[in-house]
């Protein structure tokens, strides 16, 4: 599990650095199509890459290795307190993602989260806080776990009440469409 997580992190780093997570054709709308990478502050990205590079030596560590555990705990903290890119707030954006439902109740459209990669948060460790967007969908939206969707709306900021006092992204969606 732990090792799997580390591998995942490394894969994610590769994704970060290459910046090729969603090579998609931009559509001519008022909504600017953005990439998940643009939601990661440059300084924080460098810090994480360094931290992950340092963790590489634990790649073959035994489960329960105290040093690995420590590094893992530190990394989790970094993940949870990931800062957002302030300059993106208030922009009209269009972004693809996978659905993670929050509510069990589906009578009306209920809020959900989107994440950049399949299976995130459900089976494997969740992505950093700045790679999760809370979506307040328009009425009548029906989604299921891990549906791939496009979201259009204004990117907002929401406080998370975590120890680090960080913020999270939120989109009050004007439109939610299936990803094709």
């Amino acid at each position: 599990m732990r090792r799997h997580f580390l591998r995942r992190c490394l894969v994610l780093t590769a994704g970060f650095s290459a910046g090729v997570m969603h090579p998609l054709i931009a559509l001519a709308t008022a909504y600017k199509e953005i990439d998940w990478d643009e939601l990661i502050p440059e300084g924080w990205r460098k810090q994480v890459i360094l931290e992950l590079a340092r963790m590489r030596r634990f790649a073959n560590a035994e489960d329960g290795d105290p040093k690995a555990e420590q590094a893992y705990a530190k990394l989790k903290k970094t993940w949870d307190s990931a800062p957002i890119v302030k300059s993106m707030i208030g922009k009209k954006v269009r972004i693809p993602g996978y659905v993670v439902p929050l509510d069990a109740e589906r009578m009306q459209s209920s809020d959900f989260l989107i994440v950049p990669y399949f299976g995130a948060c459900v089976h494997s460790p969740p992505p950093p806080a700045n790679q999760i967007i809370m979506i307040i969908p328009p009425k009548g939206t029906r989604t299921r776990t891990m549906d791939a969707i496009w979201v259009e709306g204004v990117l907002g900021e929401q406080r998370t009440f975590s120890e680090a006092g960080t913020s999270a992204y939120v989109i009050k969606a004007d439109k939610v469409t299936p990803y094709r």
């Binding site: 949870d80 069990a104 806080a129 999760i132 776990t145 929401q158 999270a168 939120v170």
Partner: protein, 411 residues
Amino acid sequence: MIWLHLAIQSALARKGALLIMVLSTAISVAILLGVLKVRDDAKTSFSNAISGVDLVLGSKGSPAELILYSVFHLGKPTNTIPASLEKDITAIPLVDWIVPIQLGDSYRNYPVVGTSTAFFERVRAQGRPLVIQAGKALTDPTSFDVVLGSRVAKSLGLTLSNQIAIAHGSGSGPKKDHSDSPFKVVGILAATGTPIDQALYISTQAFDALHDIQDGGQLQFAKLDPNSRVNAFFIGLKSRASIFSARRQIDDLKNANLMAVMPGVALDDLWSTMEVAENALILIAYGVLLTTILGITATLLIALDNRRRELAILRAIGAKPFQILFFILAEAFLVCMIGILAGWALLQALIAMYADQLRTEWGVVSSFGFPNTADLTSLLIVLFTVLLFATIPAAKAYKMALHDGLNPPSP
């Protein structure tokens, strides 16, 4: 419209056979609509049962199972987690509220839930807060008070200040019935149409006392039980966006036996496993429907031989061959329409009759309703298919009308 009139009159003259056709159509339509409706209702009833809860915490195992027993009171709770975790979890700054859920006891087949007073403020059903219809919510955790779900109160005929004896264990059958340990009904919840209606609520301390009791002993509150255990916690967060951080911090409690489940995800999982059964049901319904459509066509085809004279007379009084075609199609259309309407009415009648059983036995809340878009689509498919199939006998009638002229061979 003279042709429609004629078709009706002609049909009335052969009402015996046509009645059976209408009936068979009606039954198939009722089955088709019923399957579609049950699927829909089951889904909404299921997903409406719990809202506003961000995480359900339980002992490690199957997430779907945890949701099934903690929310729907289905199946048997297996493992427990220490109640003392409540303190640790409340200490996590992301957590707004936490409600314990204890299960395993029953009163006349209805599950008894041990919980805190916060349950009534925090847990919502169908997106709305719980409403106390009579009396009050649980307020004193150290009293043998019980709040009833509306269904429990109704079917057992219980009212405020009734005394009841809650038994240890679940299910019916002879068992220790602590008649000497009566609980007092202090409140009755308004109906929600969710499993909340079908349970009794007592405080966790009363629940523990129930378990501590010795044979023949007196039910009494021990000092706060440090070893008290619960089946699940419902957790609400201050910010839902931080759900993963919260989950991680719960993981960090170093209690290897814990599992924090997002109810939405677990429910979707549950539904995807049921999809096979769902699709099988729909397949069966469409099979029944196809049989009916073929039945209608066959009946029309067979009836045609007996109608040669009728059609010849129609020709004689000036009916053109294409009007004969229309005549046959009109009959098929009428049979189908009446069948669909009758089928829908039949289903509504069945729902009205068995809604209670559906809800109590199966946990499906069903109610009177006009067909939705999906239903209408399938009905249109039915109508269209019948008309399509009806062109076979209609085309035959058209040809016969041309060939036979006024001298049909004697049948």
